[in-house]
């Protein structure tokens, strides 16, 4: 069964969606979408590194994205530049360096489009293992830090005062972000990973009134986007990433109808 590339892509995509669901909610709540973008852009550098050193791609992306995240935290402490300027600086310079390095690697055949937008043909059985084992680890760690992370998202000082150690939770969450980008890069591509994090969560926000509901709907939305997106991708021969993101946008638009209805009900 795993011989079929489409089944492999489907299993990989569903695994990614289960993890991006809850992480995406935190990205929306903590306003981290540009942070996600920066990590994703820096992933290109990780990919080129993987090709040069013959590392595993996910592992190499994870290392580079974590390094970029730590650099960002240090820069925030040591400079007076605003956060968004620092994010832009890191995102574009790491993307540029990645592209320059690719130029030097002319002896390797590179599928740039596949890197940027995802390639379902490229998903191997090894990738499936990385996605599902890595994904399970990410969810496990997220469950462990849920209380301090959520409490400090609501109010940092409350969490700190009542002994929850929000700084540690934030640092661990940053690592989890690097990890999800690392395991999902082949499916969605590095330009669209943040979309996979944000759009299902944004859709879920429109139809939920509690944090747990939002996480649940976000996962369901992600799963549906992957299924719809991959079948369209197969049918029309489009890149997998854009097809999945387009499907999630479609679901988001549907969720807007729900808002209108509930506003009508209130009036």
């Amino acid at each position: 069964m795993l011989d079929d590339f489409f089944i492999r892509a489907l299993i990989a995509g569903l695994g990614v969606a289960i993890v991006t669901g809850p992480l995406g909610c935190f990205v929306v709540w903590r306003r981290l979408s540009y942070f996600g973008d920066t990590l994703a852009h820096s992933a290109l550098l990780g990919v080129t590194l993987a090709y040069t050193m013959e590392f595993n791609i996910a592992f190499s992306v994870f290392i580079i994205s974590s390094l970029i995240a730590l650099t960002l935290i240090q820069l925030q402490k040591r400079t007076n530049l605003p956060g968004d300027a620092l994010l832009g600086l890191l995102a574009h310079s790491s993307l540029a360096i990645g592209l320059v390095v690719i130029g030097f690697l002319s002896f390797i055949r590179f599928d740039i489009m596949g890197l940027l937008f995802g390639d379902i043909l490229a998903v191997t059985v090894e990738d499936l293992l990385i996605i599902w084992i890595g994904g399970a680890l990410i969810l496990l760690v997220l469950k462990l830090i849920w209380k301090p992370l959520f409490a400090s998202t609501v109010n940092y000082e409350l969490a700190e005062a009542e002994g929850l150690n929000p700084d540690r939770a934030k640092a661990i969450f940053t690592i989890l972000m690097a990890a999800i980008i690392a395991i999902s890069i082949k499916m969605v591509g590095l330009l669209l990973i943040t979309g996979m994090l944000i759009i299902p969560a944004a859709m879920a926000r429109n139809i939920s009134d509690s944090p747990i509901k939002m996480v649940t709907y976000s996962i369901i939305g992600g799963l549906l986007s992957v299924i719809i997106g991959l079948f369209t991708s197969l049918e029309f021969n489009t890149s997998s990433g854009p097809s999945i993101i387009a499907a999630s946008l479609f679901l988001f638009i549907l969720s807007l109808l729900n808002i209108k209805q509930s506003i009508k009900l209130k009036n």
């Binding site: 929306v28 709540w29 306003r31 209380k147 959520f150 409490a151 998202t153 609501v154 109010n155 000082e157 409350l158 969490a159 700190e160 005062a161 009542e162 002994g163 929850l164 926000r205 939920s208 009134d209 509690s210 944090p211 747990i212 509901k213 939002m214």
Partner: protein, 248 residues
Amino acid sequence: MNTNNNILVKLKNAGFRQNNKWLVKGVSLEVKKGKIVTLIGPNGSGKSTTAKIALGIYKTIDGEVEKYTSKIGYVPQKISIDWTLPIRVHDFMVLTENLSDEAINEALSLTGVIHLKNKNLGNLSGGEFQRVLLARAISKKPELLVLDEPVQGVDFTGEIALYELIKKISDTLDCGILLISHDLHTVMSATDHVICLNGHVCCSGTPIDVAKNNEYKALFGEQASQILSRYEHRHDHVHTIEGEIKKN
């Protein structure tokens, strides 16, 4: 028994500096089990800062903080909930600690907002939210309560009821309370120890001592020092039904 066992938090000559400006300096205080310590002082005198030093929110401080409990309930002065968070009162109650349904209901009933349990936090009025904040802080049965203007925005009758509740909580839970309040009436009547701040400790002691202190009078005016005498006056006699005044 060592009396130190009753101390929950102790500040030794503590201070906090931000952008080369001292927000508060040289504060020493201790909160013991079952006692209410109140911080008073004008705006910007470092009351909230002192509370945050005691709570460990500010870490790079001068002096020392010794904490002997980790069961802490906190009502911050300012808190804004982001509309991006779908969060109901019920979810907010279990924010820092998992609680049984009975504990949640009990705390919400005590502060009079049980009917709001399933409402979205963003839809509450200021006073309602303040009651929820207080309910959340007491629901986990803390050993130390830090209340920074806990009744701001609450209606007049509610204010009195909530202060009575706070006093009751300190007795029943035997917890220590660090209270910041503008209401001098309450401070002077229900507090064990008053600390008057103005960037540093102006004066401190029992309410009676503080009311007599000249620095206190200078800060709050002659009027303020009479609050206490009025309060005491209320208790040195009773009015009989016939209208006679009877000395205690």
